[in-house]
C-alpha cells in the first residue's frame, strides 16, 4: 500500500517539487495551498500523513494540526510539520504544536522519506 500524503504549503514551487519527490518514492500525494483548503480535502479524503508548512495565510500549520488532532475521525492521521521556521537542530518548534514530527525545510529530502516510513510503519 502506498503512503497517502496530503501536502499543505502556500509556496507553489516548493509544493510541486516536493510532490514530485514524494511521488517518485511511491507516495500518493494530494496538495492544498493553505489550512482551510487542507481541511476541506480532509472532509472526503483520509490520508496516512499530513505534511504541512507552519507559516501560511488564513489557517496556519499550528492551527491545522490542532483541528486534525481534535477530530476523532482523523485520529490515525500522522502529522508532519515541514517549515523554514524550524532549524535543522530542531530549535524553533512552536510550543504546544500537536505534530508527530517536526522537520526543517533545510533537511535533506531522504530524511523526510525516512520519517514518513517510520511513522506509517507503526
Amino acid at each position: 500500500m502506498p503512503i497517502r500524503i496530503l501536502l499543505v504549503d502556500d509556496d507553489e514551487a516548493f509544493r510541486s517539487v516536493t510532490a514530485i519527490a514524494l511521488e517518485s518514492e511511491g507516495c500518493v500525494v494530494d496538495e492544498a495551498n493553505d489550512g482551510y483548503t487542507a481541511l476541506a480535502v480532509l472532509q472526503h479524503e483520509h490520508p496516512d500523513v499530513v505534511v504541512c508548512d507552519l507559516n501560511m495565510p488564513g489557517l496556519d500549520g499550528r492551527e491545522l494540526c490542532h483541528r486534525v488532532r481534535s477530530n476523532p475521525r482523523l485520529a490515525d492521521v500522522r502529522l508532519v510539520v515541514l517549515s523554514a521556521l524550524i532549524e535543522p537542530d530542531g530549535s524553533g518548534i512552536p510550543p504546544n504544536l500537536e505534530a508527530d514530527c517536526c522537520l526543517s525545510k533545510q533537511t535533506h529530502f531522504s530524511r523526510l522519506i525516512a520519517q514518513l516510513e517510520s511513522l506509517t510503519r507503526r
Binding site: D11, F14, A21, T37, N55, P57, A84, K105, Q106, F109
Partner: protein, 606 residues
Amino acid sequence: MTTNTTSQSTNVREAFARAGRFRLRDRLFLASALLSTSILLIAAWVINNQVVRQARQQVQTEVQDLLPVYNAVWEENARSLATLGQTMANSPNVKIIFGNERAARDRETIREMIADFGGDLASRVDLVLITDGAGKITFAEMRGNDAPPVTDLTAARAVADSQQQRQCFAIFGGRLFQLSLTPILLQSGSDEYQNTLAVLGTGLELSRAVAGEIRNRVHSDVVFLTGERIYASSLAPEAEAGVAQAVTAPEINRADPARPVEVRVGGQPNLAFSRQLPGFDGQRVGQVVVLRSLAGAGRLFRSISNLLLLLWTVSIAAAFAFSFLIARRITRPMGALMAGTREYGRGNYDYEIKADTHGELGELAGAFDQMRRSLKQTQAELLKRERLATIGQMAGSIVHDLRNPLATISTAAEMLNRAGLAPERRQTLLESQLRASQRMHEMLRGLLDFTRGSYNLELEPHSLGSLVERAVKGIGTNAARASIVIETDVAADLFVRADAGQLRRVFENLLTNAVQAMPDGGRVAITAIREGDHARIDVADDGPGIPAEIRERLFEPFVSHGKLGGTGLGLAIAQSIVEAHGGSIGLDPAATRGAKFFITLPLDSV
C-alpha cells in the same frame, strides 16, 4: 424652562471653573490684598476702640473739671449783682429818687441815675425794679421792655421781712433773669426822715450774650431752658432750633457732671449734663444744659481713618506690585519649564531650559535638564537597541524567507540528479527551480531598495487607470483562483508622473494583501478620484480587516501578518515608493468592514 435652568447651572459651573483657573499672579494679589485689608480693618477697630474711647474719656474728665469754672461764673455774676444792688441801696440819690413818687415815674431820670453808677455791670444790668414791703412792684425798668410784666414779687416780701439780700433766678415777661434782691429804705415825701422799707431788684438776663460768655469760659455750649422752652443758648440759631428735643429729654434732667449723657446736636455727638436754676424759694425755675462736643474725638478718628485709608491704598498698590513681581519671578521660569516639557513631550531632547533663576525653581530647572539628558541618553540607547533588534528581526526574516525557495531549489536538484524521471516532471522541477530563484532575486532587490531608502525613479506621465489595470492583470490569476472579484472605478482624466514599475509594485502589494486576506473569496474595490491637486486611490476588501494590535505599526518592516512568501517588507516598501513619488499611503480608519488602504499621489500638472 428646564433647558434654561440647565444652561444657567452650566454657566454657574463654568464660572466656578473659570474662578478656579485664576492665574498665580491674581491669586497672590487677592491673598495679599485680603491680608492687608484685614490687618488695616483690625487696626481701625482697635484704634476706634482705644483712641476714640480714650478721647471720649478725656472729654468726660474735662466735663467734670469744668464744673467749678461754671459755678464760678454764676457766683461772679451773683456777686456783681449783689454789689450793685447794695451800692444802689446805700445811695442817697437812689433812696430819694425812688422815694419820690413823681421822680420815680420819670424813667429818663432813673436811667441816668443807674448810668451814674458806672462800671461794667451797670451798663449790662438788664432789669432794675422796686417793690414795696409787701412785694408789689412799684417800678420796673427792663432793657428792651417798658411795661412791668408782673405786679407782684413774693420773694421781695421775704427779703423785706428778713432785711437780707437774696439771690435767685426768675422769669419776667418771658425772659429768664439772674436776680439779686436787696432791702432799701426809700425817703419819701417832703419829710426827708420819713423812710419806707422797699426792695431793690437788680437782674441780669440769661441771654445769648451770657451764654456766649459762659461758653468762652468753659469751652462748652450752654442752653438755658424751662420745661421745653429754650430761653437762650450759645448755639448757632439753626442748631438751637433742632436742639429742643434732645436737651429736654428726661435723662438730661438727671444727668450731672459725673454722669454726662451723650446727645446729638446738629448731627454732632455731645456729652451733656444739666444744672438747676433755683428760684427764690428753692423751687426750680429753669435749668441750664451744658453741651461738651465730642467732635474732637470724631475728628481724631476721622483723621486716623483717613490715614488708614491712605495706608490701605498704599498697601493694596504694594500688594499688587509685590504679587506682580513674585508672579513674574515664578511664572516666567515656570513658563520656560513648561515650554521645555512641551518640547520634551514632542521628543525634542535637545531643547535646553533657560530659566535664569535660583532657589527652588532653579533647582527644578536643573532637575528638568538632568531628566532631559537622561531621557536623551535613554532614547539614544533605545534607538540603538531597537535598531539592533530590527536588524536581528530583519536578518531572521530574510533567513527564513530565503529558506523556502532554497529548499525548493535543493530538493529539485536532488530529484533532478535521479535517473528515470519523466521528462515533464523534469520540466516542472526546472521551472520550480527557476521560479524559486527569481523570487529570491525579487526579495533581495526589495531588501536592497528598502535598506538604501531611495529609489531611482524613472518618472514619466502615466494614466492612473492604465497603471491600476496593469497591476490588476498581474494579480489576476491568483485572484481568480481564490474566487476574488476585483472591481476598478478609476476616473479617466487622472494622470500622474510616476515610475510605472515601482508604482505597479505598490498596487500589486496591496492587491496581494487583499487577496491573501480572503482565502474563501470576496471582493476588492479599487476607486480613484481627484482631490484638489492630488489623486486619491482607495483599495478596499471584504476580508477580516487589520488586527487592531498591528494597525499602528502596519508600515513598519516585518510587522505584516500572515504573509504569503513575503519578506515582511511589502507595506514598508510600498510606503517608501509612494513617498518617493511625493504622495502618502495609509489605512483608512473609517472603514467599517475589511481593510481599506488609501494612496494619494500628486497629479501631473501638464
